[in-house]
């Protein structure tokens, strides 16, 4: 499971090993290995470049037509031939935010339970259960979301939320409880990113050296104090990495969201209203799109691609900075 999850930690270890290898006396295999590594990185760079070029080329017509205003206009009208990215942008950001807001604290708590608090046997059972979530194909999440979660949201959760004081805030919970919409999509996404964030967080917590934790306890700190001030601190960079993995997944997730978000191109009036995201908009419209519409969808794809890459870059730089600051490796 958790391809992405393990590749993060794997990435660290590889980087670690690479720096060690640089110090070690070089041999022929080292040289060959380095050559191979460089070739691979070059290939990836070329691939990225190729994708960018293809997306720019595909969206050229739309860029020429709408310019930068594409980013902040919300019209999406196939008959009039005007397109703007604001609605999918809002949908993408809010669903992602909701997903992370739910998944991140939950993942940290589960990871902490797994590593520090519950009996090892229970930890293995819970851990496996959470990892199973990652093995479920996203289309299944979409179907389950539509047939199970949406009716529950419509009949129980949203009416209940609207009856709380929060329900008085129109831009938060205003409008009819349709079931499909931003909140439901965010919730599904939370389930989908949970195993990834949990897996990485668990690995991060496991990497905290025993002696460092014992030193914390030895000072007379409680489990919570050691966890909060020592373990979480030690793992902070890793948690940020885990967050970005979750963000990347939530951002680009397509099928599950397309099923439950309602695919509406009007700016949602609240988080329970239907909306759309970059990925679900593309999935919904691309097969029948022609001309300018196709170019506009391509431009959505380009934005999605660039934003994801920028996220990755920020994550990497941030991780390096934080780890250096607190002195981990």
């Amino acid at each position: 499971m958790s391809d992405t999850g393990h590749s993060l930690n794997g990435g660290w270890r590889v980087r670690d090993m690479a720096s060690r290898a640089r110090r070690a006396p070089s041999s022929r295999t080292d040289t060959a290995f380095r050559g191979f590594t460089i070739a691979c990185s070059l290939f990836i760079a070329l691939l990225m470049l190729g994708i960018t070029i293809a997306l720019v080329e595909g969206s050229w017509e739309s860029m020429r037509e709408f310019g930068l205003s594409f980013l902040w206009t919300s019209d999406w009208d196939i008959n009039k031939g005007v397109y703007g990215a604001l609605t999918p942008m809002i949908g993408t950001l809010t669903t992602t935010l909701i997903a992370m807001g739910i998944a991140l604290p939950l993942a940290l708590v589960i990871a902490l339970l797994l590593v520090e608090l519950v009996h090892p046997v229970a930890a293995r059972i819970i851990g496996t259960a959470v990892e199973m979530l990652a093995a479920i194909p996203s289309i299944i999440y979409g179907m389950w979301g539509l047939f199970v979660l949406v009716p529950i949201m419509q009949a129980h959760v949203i009416p209940w939320l609207q009856s709380t004081p929060l329900g008085q805030i129109p831009w938060l919970l205003g409008g009819p409880p349709l079931g499909v919409g931003i909140l439901t999509a965010g919730l599904i996404l939370a389930f989908m990113v949970l195993p990834f964030i949990t897996a990485v967080s668990r690995d991060v917590l496991r990497m905290v050296p025993t002696v460092t934790k014992e030193a914390g306890y030895g000072m007379g700190a409680t489990t919570w104090e050691v966890t909060r001030k020592v373990s979480f601190r030690y793992g902070f960079g890793g948690f940020v990495g885990a967050t970005f993995i979750g963000l990347g997944r939530a951002f680009g997730e397509t099928m599950a969201v397309a099923y439950v978000i309602g695919n509406s191109f009007t700016i949602p009036e609240s988080i329970i209203a239907p909306g759309t995201t970059f990925a679900s908009a593309i999935a919904n419209q691309f097969p029948e799109a022609v001309g300018l519409q196709k170019a506009a969808l391509m431009e959505l794809g380009l934005i999605l691609f660039l934003v994801t890459i920028v996220f990755q870059l920020i994550a990497q730089l941030w991780l390096g900075y934080v780890n250096k600051k607190v002195g981990i490796r």
Binding site: Y217, M219, V230, I328
Partner: protein, 290 residues
């Protein structure tokens, strides 16, 4: 809290008889210039301590007194239970499910192992320095402030003062005063170990346990830590596990020799190294094993 079996208080004039396991003859130290055990205050006394890792017993009937403001060295071959023994004294072993201790460890009249004891308070009063320097993943300043913040409500300037004071007493201030906001892990091994000592003494413990504090650092840094121990014993009761018999001889007044989970011999360091009572002790200090 006090059990009747704990006849080891300072009030007992001839307490040495109970200080050591019964099968060991106690040296009656009355030679000129040497202190008498009975003049010393017992800070911590261990009685009939047994310890199990799961089903395997690692300590057998350990009984020993640790004297206030003295350094006691704990020596013995690797795997004889030295670390296990001192890990009982602040109940750090309890972090692990199948580690169990029985017996009594009396600190100022209270049984540390008893139920209803505030473990966190015990751990503050009985500080611990580990074999591997273990700074927290924080700045030098925060490393010291960590423990202080756990136990005291201090404003910024009080905190600064206490941090500086702890670093000075750990003979580290001059070396790190310009690096307070750099990661503690960026210091050299010896500095890290003194940082850990500073961190421990910042919260004013009464007993300081050191588990081979010098085994991971170079000889010059070791010298500094030995000097520091000499300084600190005026304020604290110090136990130091060491592999290095010269070190034991240099820094300690008392030495306990552990073997296969038993305390084989305990006495004044000079006596134990020059004229041990037990054959096993002699074999060990003359390098015949271990």
């Amino acid at each position: 809290m006090r059990e009747p079996t704990t006849e080891v208080s300072t009030a007992e004039p001839q307490s040495q008889a109970t200080v050591v396991p019964p099968r060991i003859e106690v040296d009656d130290v009355t030679q000129a210039g040497q202190e008498r055990h009975s003049d010393l205050e017992v800070k911590m006394s261990v009685r009939n301590l047994d310890f199990w890792y799961g089903k395997s017993q690692a300590l057998f009937d350990n009984s020993i007194d640790y004297y206030q403001n003295r350094v006691t060295a704990i020596i013995g071959p690797s795997g004889c239970g030295k670390s296990t023994h001192i890990r009982c004294l602040n109940r750090i072993y309890e972090l692990y499910r199948d580690h169990k201790a029985s017996g009594e460890i009396v600190l100022d009249g209270n049984n540390v192992l008893g139920s209803g004891v505030d473990v966190l308070d015990v751990r503050r009063r009985v500080g611990m320095i580990f074999q591997k320097p273990s700074p927290f993943p924080m700045t030098v300043f925060e490393n010291i402030a960590y423990g202080l913040k756990l136990f005291y409500k201090l404003n910024r300037s009080e905190l600064r003062d206490r941090v500086e004071d702890a670093l000075r007493r750990a003979a580290l201030w001059d070396e790190v005063k310009d690096k307070l906001n750099e990661p503690g892990t960026g210091l050299s091994g010896g500095q890290q170990q003194r940082l850990c000592i500073a961190r421990t003494i910042a919260t004013e413990p009464e007993v300081v346990l050191m588990d081979e504090p010098c085994s991971a650092i170079d000889p010059i840094a070791t010298g500094k830590i030995e000097d520091l121990i000499e300084e600190l014993k005026h304020q604290y009761t110090i136990l130091i596990v060491t592999h290095n018999m010269q070190q034991a001889a240099r820094v300690s007044e008392y030495t306990a020799f552990f073997f296969q989970g038993y305390i084989v011999e305990f006495g004044e360091t000079t006596k134990l190294f020059s004229n041990p009572d037990q054959k096993q002790t002699e074999d060990y200090i003359t390098g015949r094993f271990g």
